[in-house]
Amino acid sequence: MSPKTLYDKIWEAHVAHEAEDGTCLLYIDRHLVHEVTSPQAFEGLRMTGRTVRAPDKTIAVPDHNVPTTLDRANAATMTEDSRIQVEALDTNAKEFGIHYYPVSDVRQGIVHIVGPEQGWTLPGMTVVCGDSHTATHGAFGALAHGIGTSEVEHVLATQTLIQRKGKNMKVEITGKLRPGVTAKDITLSVIGETGTAGGTGYVIEYCGEAIRDLSMEGRMTVCNMAIEGGARAGLIAPDEKTYEYCMGRPHAPKGAQWEAALAWWKTLYSDDDAHWDKVVTLKGEDIAPVVTWGTSPEDVLPITATVPAASDFTGGKVEAAQRSLDYMGLTAGTPLTDVEIDTVFIGSCTNGRIEDLRAAAAILKGKKIKDGMRAMVVPGSGLVRAQAEEEGLADIFMEAGFEWRLAGCSMCLAMNPDQLAPGERCAATSNRNFEGRQGRGGRTHLMSPAMAAAAAVTGKLTDVREMMDLPA
């Protein structure tokens, strides 16, 4: 047998039909659904008299629109159009008989955090959702990617997707990370290296010692932003950490089925001499805590750098960089650590898990945020929130001056009331710094939770290492 990549293996295990021209029907094991990209798909089913083929493999949770304030049980906290979308999901979930975690359920949260938490996401699966950050689930060695609403309808009706196989790309992070450097810094640094289109047409497998050393939470952060590098999906081969994370989760297999699953999962790795269409290697020790300066996730620099000039770039990037600098209100040559911020957002499917909150709380313990700073923590799920409260993290955040919110996507995409006003500048642990992403005219700097916490204290973009007790 010819050597295969992990992607090749998962792909081959899911081809339900292959046409002569190579177009395949790929079988989908898990379909995650949220309120924003699904109403038109369910409506399409109704109009054509179709049903959901595999309701037991379909899981819905409202996240994008939902308010995160403590009074959200009061319907008046939502705009009418948001309420209609959430109600549409309530109705569709009930009518089509799919698994559902409503806003009132403690398990509700961001779909990409709820899926793994509940054991829906398992190694070797195909996972799709009408959301580009579905790549998150690749951390389990699952082939997971975002789809559009027409494809949501297609999966609901047929449990398959029409697909052509992508190319294989290996991103290896060798060696150890330095203190203060996190999974977020890895994933941003990779995008800084490859550009936002560097992964287009590829499925990325992240590997190397620095990746293996990451927890499952960290691996999810890395895979989450595969899409920002242009790749539909990012993968990490499952290992003992993966199995341990999955074991005992509500929807993970038990008993003999667990043993059978485990036996298959242990075959899910890229063979030594597998073919890669593209290889990128970064040394873990070369990665620094980074921030973004512009309006594309590829606009990444170490926190110790200065704001670049448009003339530092070539081709179409010159104009794009100038536009970014104008939008961000930044002057070339300014040290990044001189850039003042007024808002801090800790949360999102990129960095809204327990480990992220621990990292931020470790910086904030015994400290206060800068006067006038607006800072919020939005846990990724109700269960993350409960755990953080149990561990005392919530108290640390609140004592520091952070708002302690309920779960949802919140200010990552600002579809709910959590938004930036024009000109406000935010240190955010989310995934996109596009123009207007967090609110019209709002300015976003992406970074790790620890870096965002440090910025909340100083009021500026800050090198978190200066606030850590590092070994000499």
């Binding site: 339900a16 046409a19 021209d21 029907l25 079988y27 924003v36 990209t37 038109q40 409506e43 054509t48 179709r50 083929r53 994008h64 705009t79 159009d81 948001s82 209609i84 398992l122 070797g124 699966m125 009408g130 959301d131 580009s132 579905t134 990617h145 975002g146 789809i147 559009g148 609403t149 027409s150 494809e151 297609h154 009706a157 047929t158 449990q159 398959t160 936002t196 289109a197 287009t200 047409g201 242009g230 539909r232 089925q257 059978a260 699953a261 594309s296 179409g316 104009e319 794009a320 536009r323 995409l413 600002a414 579809m415 024009p422 996109r432 596009f434 123009e435 207007g436 992403r437 019209r440």
Partner: protein
């Protein structure tokens, strides 16, 4: 789905790289439960000021481009989210063809589900068409999907590649779900085998 066969239309130039889905359709317009009516909000934050007045310098607000049916753009068009509201807004405005050196993958696929032809051309050829588009309403660009050609107003002819299956669906306005339903026996068979080999799924 609307068929796409040939198109002769005005092309609007947007020579910016990384035009993302938040630019194409900002999130406040994703709160709809319909597919239609988003054209008025296409490129909303670039197109209107805070008081909802049109910004005259924005390309689609200029008189010569108000009826554009083609968009010529820079690298990595449509990057960002999976929101199909982006192609819905583009189609609802009346644009059914985008020409760029590259696209984000999910956006590219979403176009074909909505009667939009996204054409990939090398940068040099996009540059020629960008200049052509800058001439305004007098320069019509012609697209022939069957023969996979683009003809500029100066009669430059470029050929482009497109997946044969996607082309077939676009030319005939075919519904993917209907086509897949014809293969339901294969899905049944797969499902039965998988329930034995991977019963935990």
């Amino acid at each position: 789905m609307n068929k796409f066969t040939t198109l002769s239309g005005i092309a609007a130039p947007m020579p910016l790289i990384n035009i993302d889905t938040d630019m194409i359709i900002p999130k406040q317009f994703l709160k709809t439960i319909k597919r239609s009516g988003l054209g008025v909000n296409l490129f909303d934050e670039m197109r209107y000021d805070d008081d909802r007045n049109e910004i005259p310098e924005f390309v689609l607000n200029k008189p010569q481009y108000r009826d554009a049916q083609i968009l010529v753009a820079g690298d990595n068009f449509g990057c960002g989210s999976s929101r199909e509201h982006a192609p819905w807004a583009i189609a609802d405005f009346g644009i059914t063809c985008v020409i760029a050196p590259s696209y984000a993958d999910i956006f590219y696929n979403n176009c074909f589900k909505n009667g939009i032809l996204p054409i990939v051309l090398p940068q040099e050829q996009v540059d020629v068409l960008m200049k052509d588009a800058e001439k305004g309403a007098n320069a019509r660009i012609e697209i022939d999907l069957e023969n996979q050609t683009i003809t500029s107003s100066d009669s430059d002819v470029f050929t482009f590649e497109v997946d044969a299956f996607k082309k077939h669906c676009l030319m005939n306005g075919l519904d993917d779900i209907g086509l897949t339903m014809e293969k339901v026996a294969s899905i049944d068979k797969y499902e039965a085998a998988a329930s034995q080999s991977r019963p935990w799924v």
